[in-house]
């Protein structure tokens, strides 16, 4: 009996720890949602900040984050899918492939502030792109590249071998098989990875601090070489560096809610979609 008893205690403890995780998640979401919701309005989303950023909205930060994320996806998606195709379809288990994999793994472990430093030294200074959307997007693209490669490779590998063999039997070459059989089947998985990458890129602050982000811009960016306001950086400066940051807490909560809502919606969407892909396989 005491063994059963001990098991019950142990499982309850594990459950309590797991509950703690839910509580942590709930606390962050709950506080931000409850205090941010009153700040949300059409004006908050569509107006420029006014009076030294103590009033008004976050429109330029939204637009800036949109441009940064768009640039990131344009750069990282083809590279990530290309790399995944190589790893899943062309490369065998050779030394070179193993080195590439180690590279991808290690790139994923580089701290985001180090990406920021690198972006400053390489894109901003060495390539002369300046503090700009382009520099920020390129930096963010390197940051999300490992995520995209892994997700795409998983999606490609999930395509059954019979599909490929069927196409080969019809006389298709390898690239024809990849292009017309493997990739179409893997598209949902690749898109799931892309959604996660968008969420990640939209929320990162440290990589864009020195490469793209501006404290305040009086107008929207006119070219990829302009610096921009961005949601996460806007939240950071509003909360810590702006004048009278204690008087603009409601705006900060609103900004945090918009950012959190956007990113978590993407993560949730990706999670649900992935579950559906895994469940809905009919082959």
């Amino acid at each position: 009996m005491s063994r059963r008893w001990r098991e019950l205690v142990a499982f309850s403890l594990l459950g309590l720890f797991a509950l703690g995780v839910l509580v942590a998640l709930g606390a962050v979401l709950g506080f931000i949602a409850a205090r941010g919701a009153p700040a949300l309005s059409w004006e908050f989303l569509t107006a420029f900040p006014r009076r030294g950023m103590t009033e008004g909205g976050i429109f330029p930060a939204l637009v800036g984050t949109f441009y940064l994320v768009l640039g990131t996806v344009i750069v990282a998606l083809p590279l990530g899918v290309g790399a995944a195709i190589y790893l899943a379809e062309y490369a065998g288990d050779r030394t070179w492939t193993r080195i590439v994999r180690i590279g991808v793994n290690n790139l994923a472990a580089v701290p985001s502030i180090v990406f920021g430093l690198f972006g400053l030294a390489f894109f901003v200074k060495a390539l002369g792109l300046g503090v700009s959307i382009l520099s920020g997007s390129l930096t963010l693209a390197l940051l999300v590249l490992p995520l995209l490669i892994r997700a795409s490779e998983e999606a490609l590998r999930a395509v059954p071998r019979e599909f490929r063999e069927g196409a080969y039997a019809l006389g298709a070459t390898r690239w024809q098989v990849v292009r017309s059989v493997v990739i179409p089947v893997a598209v949902p998985g690749i898109l799931t990875g892309t959604i996660l990458a968008v969420g990640r890129a939209a929320g990162e602050t440290a990589p864009i601090m020195f490469t793209a982000a501006a404290f305040y811009t009086p107008r929207l960016p006119q070219s990829p070489l302009d610096e921009v306001m961005a949601l996460p950086y806007h939240l950071y400066v509003m909360a810590t560096e702006s004048t009278a940051f204690w008087r603009t807490r409601h705006l900060q909560y609103g900004t945090a809610l918009v950012l959190l809502g956007f990113v978590l919606t993407l993560y949730l969407w990706a999670a649900v979609w992935r579950a559906r892909i895994r469940k809905g396989k009919r082959w």
Binding site: E7, V21, V110, I113, L117, A121, G199, A256, V263
Partner: protein, 308 residues
């Protein structure tokens, strides 16, 4: 006429075959190039960090840099010792792990072994969402909720302390620990569990004596990668740790970490000054350390799944 009719398709098919073969090589080459970008990026990061970091050693020698107790980068001559920040990062990371490891491992065991299937996916999604919350939002939450709360709870002059940062980092590193542990637990063959059950062990005894020991390498990998996550985290620490670079940090007073130092000071330092190079050298230290953690974690984790 008839001859031409015969020849043109032949030429076309010859061109077509050539193009087909060329396309194969182009596809292989282009995807190979894409795959190499990660390595190229890693190489460029290494080169540029070192190139911008190493010049600091014209001002200060490496040992004095790593072991120096004073960080006054703007005084003349500057004192560029990063030991306070190394200790700050170390303290915050260790305490964060003390939070992340028990919670992460327990959650993973609960999800993987205990909980009925119905609740498994919601719990997994919750852990993923925890990983998805942007670090600046954690920082903001910490600043407006956790800081005042700890201040009142512990009666501190300021709630911006190493402890605050560590608690938040613990939550942030938890998903890394949990997901690697979960993978490791899932990789333990079911036959082993069944064997233990057949010997009369309870589910808990099986977990404790069979599953966890078999999954320990994955667990260790999770801890190492979680550590990397905590050491490299910037925004949260920057916003809640108080950022005072005092030597010998304590849990209940403001503390400065390596990452926060870069984020705080890079914008204000003139390009090419010793201070500028020193910040890149700090970045290099971070980069090398996380790389080492990752390599060791990978090596340990590779033993994962090599069960019987």
């Amino acid at each position: 006429m008839t001859e031409n009719h015969g020849r043109a398709p032949a030429v076309a098919s010859w061109v077509g075959r050539r193009w087909g073969r060329a396309r194969e090589w182009i596809a292989r080459g282009v995807t190979w190039g894409c795959a190499s970008v990660s390595l190229l990026a890693l190489g460029l990061i290494t080169v540029y960090l070192f190139c911008e970091g190493v010049p600091v050693f014209r001002t200060v020698d490496p040992l004095a840099f790593l072991g120096g107790k004073a960080w006054f980068p703007t005084s003349e001559p500057p004192s560029l010792g990063i030991l306070p920040m190394i200790l700050g990062s170390g303290l915050v990371t260790m305490v964060a792990l003390a939070v992340a490891v028990p919670f992460g491992v327990a959650t993973a065991l609960f999800i993987g072994e205990v909980v009925p299937t119905v609740f498994r996916n919601p719990l997994k999604v919750a852990v993923e969402l925890l990983a998805g919350i942007p670090s600046v939002v954690y920082g903001f939450f910490g600043l407006v909720i956790v800081v005042p709360w700890l201040e009142a709870l512990l009666g501190l002059p300021t709630g911006q302390t190493a402890l605050t940062a560590a608690l938040l980092l613990g939550v942030m590193a938890l998903p890394t620990v949990a997901s690697l542990t979960e993978d490791a637990v899932a990789a333990v063959p079911n036959a082993w569990r069944e064997a233990a059950f057949a010997l009369g062990a309870t589910h808990w005894q099986t977990m404790r004596t069979v599953v966890v020991p078999a999954a320990r390498s994955g667990l260790l990998a999770g801890v190492l990668l979680g550590m990397g996550r905590a050491v490299g985290e910037t925004m949260t620490v920057l916003m809640v740790s108080g950022n005072s670079p005092r030597f010998l940090p304590s849990l209940t007073s403001p503390t400065r970490t390596l990452t926060a130092t870069i984020a705080l000071e890079m914008a204000e330092t003139p390009v090419g000054s010793p201070h500028y190079h020193a910040l890149f050298a700090v970045g290099t230290v971070l980069f090398v350390f996380t790389l080492l953690l990752n390599v060791v974690g990978d090596m340990v984790g590779h033993r994962l799944g090599r069960h019987g």
